[in-house]
Symmetry: C2
Subunit: 430 residues, 2 copies
């Protein structure tokens, strides 16, 4: 029985089991099998699939003929990015993932008892994870109503927190692709201009209000031509998978620069992503209805099926020299008012073309309760309510030496599928 | 005598002459020699240099050993984009351009009298020009004070047209790279949401206010690392060259979507660029002082030398079935309040990294007079003053079937260096 068959029927509760040892609460179960790009001291960059504490080296499986019936391009897995693999199309990438799942099932001896097994299964903790895709264009949406409302309350009119366009279209903007970095790479506190309310003229220096934004991003898997649009019900054909996304933000720089053309240097210094791309197929079991949209949206944004997913998202802060990270936020991807199908339909309704490897982030995902707000701006309410950490320290924003960690996972019917984490420490400004 | 020597001394007025026939008023003189990527019915994509009505096929020159002392990577000119060539660095690309200039001088017989000459010199009118670079990230600035003032007067407060940040930093935003297309490719009128003042709820359909924006863009030629910044006086080392840039805009879509995160679908449906990249070196002779900046800018934006260029920029509209295009705007690159060195210094001051092939556009360049405004929005003052065309027709915005043409050139001391043109016709919405 393969994953596909399993999730097709929620009543068929025969859990899959694997011969790989998967720790309890691992995000990388037999149901997940995300794609990533890794290297280690011995191995050059290559594509793998994560399970438990291991990585399945797909290039070795390929060399040994485990995919020979699929007629894959030579060396497809010996690649520094997933783009070429993704470009083969969903039919192929699904087949590859399902083949790996078959090979990992407890009663399948083909790899389990093969002499090559030791070479195929690489230790995750010895691997360095690279940026999984060469990112073309990057777009950031603003699709959580709670987040947009909180920001509106703080910076505009508390009585009319949402701007007039917000419930009619998924507001979004183009971001900087070059500075998207994989988990583990430290970020440097950005310098820039700011003008605090008490200043007559703008000042310059390291940002004093460095923040995270808890987001999820999808990676496009199929190109369109300039002039073409994608309908909501075909949109998921164009989505390969998802990663956690920390949209680092310098609030003081952003506040001064952003009128009238939007965020720029307050964002472009870095964005961190988790390295394992969780496929859309792996999230199928956690599909759910999104918030009711009122007023009714225009026809090109209407959906006839569910495109939201019940995924818990968490943010943690770990100060330097403190052993334990403190969870400061628990949110959920299902809070998004605008779903991924609507985002993609909107993005292309004007004929804007997409390429394989474009990244589209959700925007900060905040929930309805104060502990579900997805940024320090909201959690500390613009710095007026410091957040207490387990170490006794307090934070209004992120300080030098702090590590910010984000996690995300779905769990239902004993099935867990997760993203691992995205983490980055903050170095002082240069 | 080479170009370099020539322009180093303005008093040395010995004009260069070439054995290639260069029509009067050609933009592609012996002083220019821009790089581009072309193909034709016989030839696969390759890199050339334009002179007069010809293209010098650099791949043939290379095969014949004309660059053998430079130890260039094999097949460097048989390329679909300039990125790899540009990545060799300015020292190399300058040498290549100077070698071509030498070979084209009237008294140099090496190519002139060589049997290969016919194969090297390709007719421009038989060539199809491709996008010259694979664009990484694209940024659009907003650096003309007259343009920002006009927009501010129309949409905000006529008495306080410029926003408070405008004179302190070069306002900019990230744009969509995937939809940047070369001259000649038609654009399709975009569809989208808009909400005119008389509408209670937003509508959907083809844009009714399609506009051009007259801009120039530079292409970066040298990468930086994440965390590094570029100073104003080293910025030009990172600039390879320039192209004309038509930042197509759907004003009605833009007006409804742009708060608070900036332009998105009102821009991302297409941007057109001229195919020949005019190098920074070719523009050296036309360097000039920019507008005085008052109040004084922060130290990281201060310049000790001139980074503005005296380049005339023009926009034309040619309706369908009309033989002659009407010039609707004459502007100049020197009107930019913020120069390219300041733009690049600002862009990287927060540590944002750049790559070879990034594109940074100026924003609409408007001058002080009504005939120098660089968009229909300004020329027709928000549609209140229709622009008369030579055919007797009027335009408030761009109509289906119209072709918009932009030209740009510098001329001084009998030396002319130009961009050719960027043109695109507008097809009806799908």
């Amino acid at each position: 029985m393969r994953f596909k068959d399993f999730v097709m029927s929620d009543t068929t509760m025969n859990p899959l089991s694997t011969w790989v040892e998967v720790p309890k609460n691992s995000d990388f179960t037999i149901y997940n099998l995300p794609f990533g790009v890794f290297k280690n001291k011995r191995l050059s960059p290559r594509i793998g699939i994560a399970i438990g504490d291991k990585i399945v080296d797909l290039s070795v499986l390929d060399q040994e003929g485990f995919f020979s019936d699929m007629f894959l391009p030579e060396g497809i897995f010996l690649n520094e990015a997933l783009n070429e693999l993704i470009s083969l199309g969903k039919t192929q990438t699904k087949k590859i993932r399902e083949r790996v799942q078959e090979l990992l099932l407890a009663d399948n001896e083909k790899l389990r008892d093969h002499s090559i097994r030791g070479k195929v299964m690489v230790n995750r903790k010895e691997a360095e994870m690279l940026l999984p895709v060469k990112i073309g264009d990057y777009t950031d949406f603003y699709s959580s109503m709670e987040h947009a409302t909180n920001v509106g309350k703080m910076f505009r009119d508390p009585e009319n927190a949402l701007l007039p366009n917000w419930k009619h279209l998924p507001v979004g903007y183009h971001g900087r692709a070059s500075s998207i970095i994989p988990s583990g790479v430290p970020i440097i506190r950005p310098k820039g201009q700011f003008k605090d309310p008490d200043m007559d003229v703008p000042g310059f220096g390291p940002s004093k209000r460095l923040d995270f934004e808890l987001e999820l991003a999808f990676i496009t898997g199929k190109p369109t031509k300039l002039g073409d649009s994608i309908g909501t019900e075909e949109a998921e054909d164009y989505i390969f998978g998802f990663v956690l996304f920390n949209d680092w933000s310098a609030r003081d720089i952003q506040a001064w620069e952003y009128v009238p053309l939007g965020p720029f240097l307050g964002k472009s210094f870095a964005s961190s992503i988790s390295p394992w791309v969780v496929t859309l197929e792996a999230l199928e079991h956690f599909r759910t209805a999104g918030p009711k949209q009122e007023p009714e949206v225009l026809p090109y944004l209407q959906c006839t099926s569910n495109h939201s997913f019940d995924l818990q998202l968490e943010a943690y802060i770990q100060p330097e020299n403190v052993k334990q990270a403190t969870k400061v936020c628990t949110s959920n991807f299902k809070y998004m008012y605008w779903n991924v199908a609507q985002q993609l339909a909107h993005h292309t309704v004007n004929g804007c073309n997409i390429n394989v490897g474009d990244m589209m982030a959700s925007g900060t995902i905040s929930g309805p309760t104060e502990d579900s707000f997805g940024s320090m701006l909201e959690l500390s309410w613009k710095g007026t309510k410091p957040v207490k950490l387990d170490s006794g320290e307090e934070r209004k924003f992120i300080e030098d030496g702090d590590t910010v960690i984000m996690k995300g996972f779905a769990e239902k019917d004993g099935i867990r599928v997760g993203f691992g984490e995205v983490r980055a420490s903050v170095l002082p400004a240069k």
